[in-house]
Amino acid sequence: MTMLLDQPKNCQPWTAHSARIVDIRPEVPGVATYDLVLDDPQVASAYRFRPGQFNMLYLPGFGESAISISSDPARHDVLSHTVRVAGNVTQALAKQKVGDRIAVRGPFGSDWPVNACRGHDIVLACGGIGLAPLRPAIYHILNHREDYGRVIVLYGARTPGDLLYTAEFSAWREKKLEVEVSVDVGTPDWKGHIGVVPVLFYRLRLQPERTSVMSCGPEIMMRFVVFEALARKVRPENIYVSLERNMSCGMGFCGHCQMGPYFVCKDGPVFNFRQVEPYFHLEDL
């Protein structure tokens, strides 16, 4: 039995890699995108991620946070992370300047099924910061536009001023992404929808048998997205959600991110709805 123990695997999974902040782009109040370059050229050149995966960003003295990678997976020069200031770690990150160094462990977790969904129409339904983990999937789709049918982004935020990446929407629309935006609370000059994301489904004419749905946002929003998608006869196995849980490691050691039989860090964060169906509706699980 000790033979099994001596096999070399990833031997230093706790070692974080120093990275330089090469750009900081304020997005909306409380949210900025940080572009990182890993310092060790060997680590940097070996680094690859898939859409939907996340890194553990480490600020020594403050701690680690799970943050999705929000850049184009085909780009190997920088890694972007779009971060909302929440507490200890994210506040410390917000105080960093271009040129400062933080550290990265990753990438971790499962990914959006951009390959399995080829040939499908795709609905990307997200709320708030939930657009960040979907943006790499959007970039992938834009890079391989001919592989997909209709692609619809349903995006909601609290107010028009909280909408992320609005400067990119026209480029997305040019490549025939349908971008439908809604806010909870409008402003006098807001001409778009008002209401929650699931309501945006009402006007879509989907071909459910060839439609996949990918959703990321508050769990309550995703429950309604799933409800609306199922009501429109989208197959449950074609619906994907990205879950969020407290996590201290990203590797299934710390136990915090459990959800029923899953470790959200390594079995997720992206789940097929079929996987989480028995647990999704349960309070406090």
Partner: protein, 390 residues
């Protein structure tokens, strides 16, 4: 007959006084030796340099929220069972440094410390705890990532197992198929007979250690005697399920057993059972059960920094699913109620652990029953959910 080289799987007969030379032999090979000791009225693992330091002649009495040690004329070297300690604290220490970061000229140098652990030989490990060890191996070594600290300590561990001759009322290894007979995963396994020990050799390292010790080959009768100790105990434990009726009327602690039939589906089909809030009315959410459990592995990581902020350690410490922080997110704590935390713990132990690691997370050691201040008993909770309260 004195033969130096003992083959793996062989059974050797060793005089009781020779146990000291086993300790000495391990010292010679560089091992620190650990064994059961009495501290504050309970059996815990401590330094063991002399066989006379073992709690020879003691037995333990355990029940929900109760633990007592007593001298007994019939008791030998190892006739108490498990105390609050297990191997867990040696391989997955309650606190350990995961990463050391030093800032020089604005750049962080980061490395995982490699403490090159001291080789450790632990005496008196029971079958349930060997199964717990195998389970923690799956958690820390069996996935896509390997925990380096656990791995190096694990490789430096030498296990001297013991076959139990009696069980506590809280033991239910027979239900979990984790005992009482030691079946593998040890370097040496001891069975105490009236006048000597039968030593089973479980590994090359075990065989090596035996070259320093005087032994004779066991006769078939010796082997039979040793085996029948485990078999008798097992048969005795197996009658518990049928004696439930008489048990209920007696004053003695209820002898535990757990019906594991379809337990995975039983629990997951009953996530909204009223029993969860009933047990939560008693549960203090103190986390004792998770701390004493030999398989529980939850932890949290925190930062320890010097004043300059240029020297930072990341420290991992045991945590528990019974705390609110365990599932805290700034968008809301997931498990807000004690009911949801007890449900998480029990369903993880007995159901979802199987999905995750292909084995139950419970080895039936009974520690969580004994060390629960209010005597909450997982076998009772499962029986209540099954609806056949026993």
């Amino acid at each position: 007959m004195f033969v130096n080289k003992a083959p793996i799987k062989s059974y050797l007969s060793v005089g009781k006084s020779q146990l000291q030379s086993l300790i000495d032999g391990l010292h010679k090979l560089g091992y620190q030796t650990i064994g059961p000791r009495i501290v504050d009225g309970a059996i815990v693992y401590g330094e063991l340099n002399a066989i006379s330091d073992l709690p020879v002649g003691y037995v333990d009495w355990q029940d929900g929220g109760k633990y007592r040690l007593e001298p007994s004329d019939e008791a030998g070297h190892f006739d108490y069972v498990v105390g609050p300690d297990s191997l867990k604290k040696f391989l997955f220490p309650a606190r350990e440094t995961l990463l050391q970061s030093i800032r020089v000229d604005g750049t962080w140098n980061m490395a995982t410390p490699d403490p090159a652990p001291h080789p450790l030989a632990v005496f008196g490990v029971r079958s349930c705890d060997l199964h717990a060890l195998a389970i923690q191996d799956k958690v820390f070594l069996g996935g896509p990532y390997v925990d380096p600290g656990y791995q190096s300590r694990r490789n430096a561990l030498f296990v001297v197992a013991v076959n139990c001759r009696r069980a506590a009322a809280t033991c239910f290894c027979h239900s979990m198929k984790t005992g009482p007979a030691v079946e593998g995963g040890f370097d040496l396994a001891l069975t105490e007979l009236a006048d000597r020990f039968v030593v089973q050799v479980g590994s090359t390292r075990g065989a090596e250690v035996m070259t320093n010790i005087e032994w004779t080959a066991c006769t078939l009768q010796d082997i039979d005697d040793a085996r029948s100790i485990s078999k008798t105990l097992r048969d005795q434990m197996r009658t518990r399920a049928h004696n439930a009726e008489t048990q209920r009327e007696s004053e003695l602690p209820r002898e535990r057993h757990l019906d594991t039939t379809d337990i995975h589906d039983l629990l997951l089909d009953n996530l909204e059972h009223p029993r969860w809030s009933q047990v939560a009315n008693r549960c203090l959410a103190c986390a004792n059960c998770t701390i004493v459990c030999p398989t529980c592995f939850c932890s949290s990581v925190s930062e320890v920094s010097d004043l300059s902020g240029d020297n930072v350690r990341r420290e991992r410490a045991w945590d528990s699913c019974f705390t609110a922080e365990h599932s805290y997110m700034n968008t809301g704590t997931v498990r807000k109620t004690t009911a949801s935390r007890y449900r998480q713990w029990l369903t993880h132990k007995l159901a979802t652990w199987t999905d995750q690691f292909g084995t139950s997370g419970c080895v039936g050691c009974g520690r969580c029953i004994t060390w629960c201040p209010v005597g909450i008993d997982l076998t009772e909770e499962v029986a209540a959910i099954r609806g056949d309260e026993s």
